[in-house]
């Protein structure tokens, strides 16, 4: 939610608000500019402390006064009350506390748009977009453990990033920086989570879910004329659209990537029913085959800078977000969080006979990474309020959305939603029965509730890698790849993996990750 640059002489006074940012000489703190957010800057009356607060607007609250961003001297009691309200804010909020020669950043529990921090001898740089820090990053100076995690598909939520010199401010964590001591990110206490319990006879979890989703949806004062929903047509996004429709009325916009082949035709048909049912208009559909990963002529192939943490389909989603921004949209609703709310535990999956298949570990790690394979889970952040994978998903999606001036809203990622899901017996989570039940109660068809064909992007990635990805990866390896030249990946073994994929015609998608990382690093040089 913020970008910042602070010099070695941080101070709580001397700040001014102008052109959408707070400045003190060359130092600045810049909140994300979006109507969904509000800002305040207060200086404690003894001038020994100041705070900048950026938070989501909350429906039903009077909100911060229009002049709140202008640095304002307030007494100690009011200052502490302002901080306390910000710390207890139920939606996204970040607090930057300034004292003489020290700054502290406090993250909230929602994990939307985490700040990436790059300390240097001359100051601290930070941004919600990793790309903003590229002029301060040596792209060959990677965190070997993060490289291992990335190529082995280990979701790992921590303050570490792929770059050794950059850290991420994780949920509820506090970053402290001084010019003398550098940066320290302090993790919070682990969060407790609910456990499954038996329902009362006659209980209506579907009804409760519907009411809860409406409640969460209504927490934000969204304007339907400036709102779009990412409506893939799956159960998560369909429920999000249902909630938005009930709370804000219609019409509001929608958009989606369309999968390839017969499943795409099914997806379009199911979406049509949802568009009609919830009166979504206008709608944008972008077939993934027109913008698949690493397609010739696409931004990744033609010199655009992109982040190693960008999503697999970010070239396509960028087109959607650009279109929505040009159409006057300010907020985009996503279905992130639905998987986690309905997730079965490891033990429940084993009992149900649906244990996840284990991905084979890559055999092409280089000398700097191979020894770390058994230490991939070190320094994981303590149990967050949300699920790790929700936070990773938000960290991936948010910059992509925000680069177009849009603010992401994910009602299913609310802590209360996860608490409901974790409390439900497994029968209500299995195959997302709760979410299907909600849509069934709205009268949606069997086609929407139980699609005959699996709608996935996986086959597109497989084809894309065979067609364009592996040849590109070979080119990188031939020319001298950053990952191989610096010992993160073994060139010969990775080439052998390319050969296997080409000979067998299978598992080319397993090479997506090293390709993505290498290509992103090259773009950032």
């Amino acid at each position: 939610m913020i970008k910042l640059h602070l010099g070695t002489h941080v101070r709580p006074t001397g700040w001014a608000w102008s052109d959408g940012r707070w400045t003190d000489g060359a130092a600045f703190i810049e909140p994300f500019d979006n109507s969904a957010l509000e800002y305040a800057f207060a200086v404690r009356s003894d001038e020994a402390a100041a705070c900048a607060i950026v938070r989501e607007r909350r429906a039903g609250e009077p909100g911060l006064p229009p002049d709140a961003p202008v640095p304002n001297l307030i007494d100690a009691g009011e200052y502490e009350r302002l901080l306390a309200r910000a710390r207890a804010w139920p939606l996204s909020a970040i607090i930057v506390e300034l004292s003489h020669h020290c700054v502290r950043l406090h993250a909230d529990r929602t994990g939307v748009a985490p700040v990436y921090l790059r300390p240097t001898p001359t100051g601290l740089y930070g941004s919600w977009d990793l790309l903003d820090l590229r002029s301060h990053i040596d792209v060959t100076d990677l965190n070997p453990a993060e490289v291992v995690r990335w190529v082995s598909h280990l979701g790992h939520y921590s303050r570490s990033t792929i770059f050794r010199t950059v850290q991420k401010l994780t949920e509820r964590a506090t970053a402290t920086w001084t010019a003398d001591s550098g940066i320290t990110i302090t993790y919070p206490e682990p969060a407790a989570h609910a456990t499954p319990r038996a329902l009362r006879p006659g209980a209506d979890p579907v009804g409760y879910f519907a009411d809860l989703l409406d409640h969460i949806t209504g927490l934000r004062p969204l304007d339907p004329s400036e709102l779009a929903v990412e409506l893939s047509g799956g159960l998560d996004s369909a429920n999000v659209a249902a909630g938005l429709s009930r709370v804000f009325g219609a019409p509001f916009s929608s958009a989606a990537l369309i999968v390839d082949g017969p499943a795409g035709e099914q997806q379009r048909r199911r979406r049509k029913e949802l568009l009609d049912r919830f009166r979504l208009d206008p709608d944008l559909e972008l077939p993934i085959v027109e913008a698949y990963p690493f397609h010739p002529g696409g931004p990744r192939r033609t010199g655009a800078v992109f982040s190693p943490i960008d999503g697999t389909y970010s070239e396509a989603t960028a087109q959607i977000y650009a279109h929505l921004a040009n159409a006057g949209i300010h907020c985009v609703a996503t279905g992130i969080g639905g998987d986690e709310a309905m997730c079965l535990s490891v033990a429940e999956r084993q009992a149900a006979g649906t244990a996840w298949p284990v991905r084979p570990l890559p055999d092409y790690l280089g000398e700097r990474c191979a020894p770390l394979l058994d230490h991939r889970e070190a320094d994981t952040a303590p149990a967050p309020v949300l699920a790790y994978s929700t936070l990773l998903g938000l960290a991936c999606r948010s910059p992509e959305v925000m680069r177009h001036g849009l603010w992401p809203v994910s009602p299913l990622a609310a802590p209360e939603m996860l608490r409901l899901g974790e409390s439900l017996p497994v029968a209500w989570r299995l195959r997302k029965r709760l979410l299907r039940g909600r849509l069934a109660r709205l009268g949606l068809s069997h086609d929407v509730l139980y699609p005959a064909l699996s709608e996935q992007f996986g086959p597109t990635v497989e084809t894309a890698m065979h067609r364009d990805g592996i040849p590109l990866l070979r080119d990188f390896l031939r020319d001298g790849a950053i990952l191989t030249e610096h010992g993160y990946v073994d060139r010969d073994r990775l080439l052998a993996a390319c050969d296997r994929a080409e000979v067998t015609g299978e598992h080319a998608e397993r090479l997506y990750r090293p390709l993505m990382l290498e290509a992103a690093l090259r773009s950032m040089q």
């Binding site: 407790a192 319990r197 009362r200 209506d204 790790y388 409901l420 992007f457 996986g458």
Partner: protein, 41 residues
């Protein structure tokens, strides 16, 4: 405003616990490049 409490749904009191790390990940792990039934869009 939601009027029913979560506890009203259940026959048992809420039991909270700090989960193990593995329980807080789903398959997608922040990207959509897996290929299983649970990963339908």
């Amino acid at each position: 405003m939601i009027t029913t409490s979560l506890d009203a749904l259940f026959a048992e009191p809420e039991l909270l616990r700090v989960p193990q790390n593995a329980e807080l990940y789903t398959k997608k792990n922040g990207s959509s490049d897996t290929n299983n039934e649970d990963d339908d869009i």
